[in-house]
């Protein structure tokens, strides 16, 4: 049931990415997870290597990164092909509990939701169920 979902994690903190992978795998059993500590690399992956596959993607995006912030990442993402963007659902995954950050996330049309770290079973469950319902109704 999970073979048709791909997870991408963009966060400069490698330990966080490790924990996320474990939690996703622990919750769903097996999963296709790819993590990037450099957001630029994640962008070029999506544009160049992912464009042919078009498997639905759940993307967890951190805000506070040194070379490119989550918001700057989204500015570049905006220019991507619509076909690609249709397949990608972006969640902000941040340690932030700052209300302005949440408000900013709400205002961005590419962001599905704001999740405060750490990621947990319940969050994974509801994200995947949502996604599957969406896909089913689309079909």
């Amino acid at each position: 049931m999970n073979a048709n979902l791909k997870f991408i994690i963009v966060d400069d903190d490698p330990f966080n990415n490790r924990i996320c992978s474990m939690i996703i795998k622990g919750t769903l059993g097996e999963a296709d997870i790819q993590s990037f500590t450099l957001p630029e690399e994640a962008l070029s992956f999506i544009q160049n290597e992912y464009s042919g596959m078009l498997v639905p993607v759940i993307l967890f995006l951190d805000i506070n990164m040194p070379t490119l912030t989550g918001w700057e990442f989204l500015e570049k993402y905006e220019n991507f092909n619509e076909k690609i963007k249709e397949k990608i659902t972006i969640y902000i995954l941040s340690s932030s509990i700052d209300q302005p950050d949440k408000d900013k996330a709400d205002a961005n049309k590419y962001i599905k939701d704001f999740i405060s770290k750490p990621l947990n079973r319940d969050a994974i469950h509801s994200i995947t169920e949502n996604k599957l319902l969406e896909l089913r109704s689309a079909n």
Binding site: F15, I19, M22, I23, D98, K117, P118, L119, N120
Partner: protein, 631 residues
């Protein structure tokens, strides 16, 4: 008598006329004679011939000598009239002379005629001259009276022998007497003098110096109706042939109105000056050449207290433009601005020039405002007023400072909240995530090991953030560290020794130039930290493929000490993030270990020491930090 005498002869006997003409010729008389024989011709000749003298026979056919004399008088001809007749009784002669004839000649004794003509004409001309003199005298007398009345100047004459003082009409009028009371005496004159002035008048008269030609005297008189008048007198002595004083004469000028105007003017001047002088503002009027033509007491006082070096240290008569120009040439920017402002108002380019400027004395800091307004007068002038606005200005500066502090505090709080939610929260989230993974899932040994290590790292990071925050908060509260003289060269030396291994390993060259200024009184530990952070930053972000060079310089500007730190490192793209460069936990390089506290600490410490810091940077070229401290 040289000139030709024109004679009109009334005679109807040709033989008689011929006899007269011959007699005149015999007397070598240069004359032109016109003989007429009737009334009509006589009247016409009086107008056309313009005779110098008239001869008349006594009885002609058409008129007699009485009638002829009447015609002459009636026509206003004023020339001698001589009767020439055959016989004449004494009674008749008297009668004719009474009627206005000037002489008479019996025809039998015509030899007397030439001398009679000359005498008559001489006598007649003398009479005419006297009449003219008289008329002139009467005219000038009238003019004098009129002039005296217009000018309110009367004249008087004091004859010592009679003791009488003669007053002119206007003099009478000034003293309020009728013009018939023009004969007065010394005592009657004294009775008019104001009681308060009697003493000085008497004194003046007593000391009158007979050798001096002019004497002036001012006093008041009290008229009979009580009116008080101010009189200005100029007098002279009159001397007889032997040089003895025989009298005194002079003019009396009624100067009451002039005195009153003068007094009013003085009063209003005193009033204006008192008002001006009572103002605390320093006020001066300058003309279009910059000369100070007037100033009030405050201005003068300020000029005395502050000497000639300050902008406002200028006395009356000195040139304000020159003072400004000198100050401007010495680098005083406000002076140049003030000079331009004054000239603009002077030339009508702007109505008012207003300017606030600091003018600190060695003992106190002061602020002044300056207002320049065009002054209404014939030549272009402006009024400058300087006002001490220190109190208002300090309140204003205090308010700005408080506002600035509050904004900074608020900004700090927002930043603090951000740091708490991100930098404190991040390791916490990791710890929660890792511990829940440890507990919930079946993990292999390697995974468990990894999570335990991760939890330990996160806790360490958490601890570091807490320490950083505590450090920052301590700097902000400006601990009472003592200031001391710090040498830049020694700081760099200390730091290079402490990080010698790093410098050697990375092959870094540090070049210093502190020749212009090497010393600065400050908190040493802060300045050390600033130098340390900037130097280690440059080493950390050097370009690996070339030899790292750091150039540190110090120099002086007008009121600042400037330090620059230039390196040839990898640089930062400032186009997007210049505002964030000094932010806490801002990092711009992913691959190099950094907490993002270095530049934040540098900026905080620079600002705590009262300075400012700026950055210029080009990617792959290098970075320059510029720090400015107030002297």
């Amino acid at each position: 008598m040289e000139e030709k005498i024109r004679i009109l002869h009334l005679e109807d006997m040709p033989l008689d006329a011929e006899l007269v003409a011959r007699e005149l010729k015999r007397g070598k008389m240069n004359s032109e004679i016109l003989v007429v024989d009737n009334k009509l011709k006589f009247e016409k000749a009086l107008i056309d011939f313009l005779p110098d003298i008239i001869f008349s026979d006594h009885s002609l056919v058409s008129l007699d000598s009485h009638e002829a004399l009447r015609i002459v008088k009636k026509m206003g001809v004023t020339v001698p009239f001589i009767l020439i007749t055959a016989t004449m009784t004494d009674e008749f002669a008297v009668q004719v002379m009474k009627e206005g004839a000037d002489d008479y000649i019996i025809k039998d004794r015509l030899h007397r005629l030439p001398s009679a003509v000359i005498n008559s004409i001489k006598k007649y001309r003398l009479e005419q001259q006297q009449l003219a003199y008289q008329a002139n005298i009467i005219r000038s007398e009238a003019k004098l009276k009129e002039s005296q009345a217009i000018a309110h100047i009367g004249n008087w004459e004091y004859d010592f022998s009679t003791g009488k003082v003669l007053w002119s009409e206007e003099h009478c009028r000034i003293y309020g007497t009728s013009i018939t009371e023009n004969v007065q005496s010394y005592h009657s004159w004294m009775s008019f003098i104001h009681p308060d002035d009697i003493e000085s008048v008497v004194e003046n008269i007593k000391n009158k110096d007979s050798s001096s030609t002019d004497n002036t005297l001012n006093y008041r008189i009290v008229l009979n109706d009580g009116t008080v008048k101010h009189i200005h007198v100029i007098s002279k002595f009159e001397f007889d042939e032997d040089g003895n004083q025989v009298g005194l004469y002079g003019t009396a000028h009624d100067v009451t109105e002039i005195r009153q105007t003068e007094r009013q003017l003085r009063k209003s001047e005193t009033f204006n000056l008192s008002v001006l002088n009572s103002l605390s503002s320093h006020i001066a009027v300058i003309n279009n050449l910059g000369n100070i033509v007037a100033r009030n007491a405050s201005w003068k006082r300020f000029a005395l207290e502050n000497g000639p070096t300050t902008l406002k240290g200028t006395e009356e008569g000195s040139n304000y433009f020159k003072v400004c120009e000198t100050a401007a040439n010495n680098g005083d920017e406000t002076a140049a601005e003030v000079l331009q402002g004054i000239k603009n108002v002077m030339e009508g380019k702007q109505d008012v020039f207003y300017f606030e400027y600091p003018c600190h004395s060695p003992t106190e800091s002061r602020w002044f405002s300056m207002r320049v307004i065009k002054f209404n007068s014939e030549e272009p002038m402006v009024v400058l007023s300087h006002q001490n606005i220190s109190e208002r200005k300090f309140a204003e500066l205090e308010r700005i400072k408080i506002t600035g502090d509050l904004i900074q505090r608020n900004h700090d709080l927002v930043q603090f909240a951000y740091i708490v939610s991100h930098n404190l929260r991040a390791p916490v989230a990791n710890i929660i995530g890792a511990s829940s993974a440890l507990n919930s899932f079946s993990l292999d040994v390697e995974e468990k090991e990894l999570l335990s290590q991760g939890i330990y790292d996160s806790v360490t990071r958490l601890d570091e953030v807490i320490k950083d925050l505590s450090n920052v908060l301590q700097i902000k509260s400006k601990l009472r560290e003592t200031e001391e003289k710090v040498r830049f060269s020694e700081l760099v030396e200390d730091i290079t020794i402490s990080i010698k291994n790093l410098i050697d390993k990375e092959n870094i060259q540090i070049l210093c130039d502190f020749s212009e200024i090497d010393e600065f009184v400050t908190i040493k530990s802060y300045l050390y930290s600033i130098f340390y952070n900037l130097i280690t930053n440059s080493i950390k972000y050097r370009q690996q493929q070339i030899a790292g060079i750091i150039i540190i310089k110090s120099y002086l500007t007008k009121n600042k000490i400037v330090l620059t730190f230039l390196d040839n490192g990898m640089g930062i793209d400032l186009s997007k993030r210049k505002d964030q460069i000094f932010g806490l936990y801002k990092r711009f390089h992913h691959h190099i270990e950094g907490k993002g506290t270095g530049l934040f600490m540098v900026k905080t410490q620079v600002e705590t020491l009262g300075g400012s810091i700026d950055i210029e940077s080009t990617v792959n070229k290098g970075t320059e930090f510029k720090i400015e401290f107030n002297k």
